[in-house]
């Protein structure tokens, strides 16, 4: 039975196992938090032992790591990058700035809550989070994938209208290709 429900479940388990042990990270270094990524990846904390490695382009990436505050100008690029990534894809919001604005809570040109614009799977809080916290965030994402709960991309697809509305509210000149995959 190829399309049997149980065999689908087994395939899912195998695929999720591969997905969670091989996360290609596109670190979008927006804010000051980006400085914690190099120590996470290199000798001291060595994220590669979890199968986490850097991806060069959005097409190859699985995880979009948004490291810190987002100005409205960068938000546009981040959305563009997110939409270029291939399904299944995950977003990690890094630092207090992506949760509630952090110390930029009253700034005139940064966004406060990232989740309004992109579906965030895991938040790592702290200003800035240390590499241990970053790795803990990745492990959390791995357990979400294992349980099949990291469905950010599906959420985005289903609620595209709403996300678009929010995005267009802060980005005045909206010239972007349609989201079509």
């Amino acid at each position: 039975m190829m399309n049997d429900k149980n065999s689908q479940k087994i395939v899912d388990i195998i695929q999720n196992y591969a997905r969670l042990h091989s996360l290609f990270v596109l670190a979008y270094g927006t804010g000051c938090g980006a400085i914690e990524i190099p120590p996470t990846m290199t000798s001291r904390y060595d994220a590669e032992r979890f199968g986490i490695r850097g991806a060069a382009t959005p097409r190859q990436a699985d995880v979009l790591l948004i490291t810190g505050y987002l100005t409205t100008k960068t938000l546009k690029r981040v959305i563009r990058v997110y939409e270029q990534m291939q399904d299944p894809k995950y977003v990690i919001g890094f630092g207090s700035c992506t949760i509630n604005g952090g110390m930029y809570w009253d700034s005139y040109n940064t966004i406060k809550v990232l989740d309004k614009y992109l579906p965030v799977d895991v938040y790592i809080n702290g200003c800035m989070p240390r590499p241990e916290a970053v790795i803990a965030g990745f492990v959390k994402l791995q357990s979400l994938i294992r349980e099949g709960k990291a469905e950010g991309a599906k959420l985005y697809k289903d609620n595209l209208e709403q996300y678009r509305e929010n995005q267009k509210k802060v980005i005045p000149n909206w010239v972007m290709p349609e989201y079509n995959w």
Binding site: D46, E48, R49, R53, A56, R59, Q60
Partner: protein, 303 residues
Amino acid sequence: MEPILYKVFGAVVTIILAFVVGMTYMGLSRKITARVQNRVGPPVYQNFLDALKLISKKTAIHHGIMQMMGPAFFMVTSIGSLMFIPVLNDGRFFSNLNFEGDLVFLLYLMVFGPLGMALGAGQTGNPNSAIGVTRGLSQMVGFEIPWVMALVALMIQYDTTSIVGLMEAQSASGTWLVFSSPFAFIAAVLAMLGMFRYSPFDIVGAPTELASGPVAENGGKYLFTMMSSNSIFAFVKLTLYVDLFLGGADNLIELLIKTFAIYLIPMLYGLVSPRYRTEQAVRYFWGWPLFFGFLAIMYAVVF
């Protein structure tokens, strides 16, 4: 068993062997890199997980028919050249389509894979890919010349253009070609540094500079095809070196030891080297490797 069925079965086994060995070597190289950098590193089977993840990606966008053809082209030529390599000396089990003159044919065939990749990269329209392709082709002009000279030296010296012929010459004389034509070996090994594209010759992929170059726009199954054909191709090159210079292998263990020994050369050299610029890379290949190539030909003609 029917001979033709037997051959098909042998071919399938050869492909699986090449895939598994190539992927494991890539994983080992990641592990060794990590150990050199004082890290723990990913598990050895990490590349298989990556491959499985890449094929289980749900979507894979493409920009046109050529982008689909590029990786397929690369895969076909990798497997095609694999079919002309005698994996083991007795060649009973692993299939092998060799004929008189297959070394010359292989020289052509081995260039096609990167060319297919170049065509595929051209379609994506990513400027990084275009730069990567031009760099790759210039680098190829660099290392192909010493490589061809080394092979021509072998052909002159032993009066044969077939790989099996060269292997028989080795078993007849009792010494490996490393010792009986050392200059050809040096030229070929120096050319191999460019063929494997580790640093300092990683100017094509150039992770931090070109965003992985020709494969920049390939995700999901395209990246998987590229990755697996790359590992098959790595196995092809390593086995060819072992066949030509180290007297082939009598059994699989010997093959693995010899190929891994050869594989360590570009890998360890890469670990301690920064990246060359394109013109530096080409100049490198037209320096000492070319000199040794000439020396090899003269040695072959004189002796």
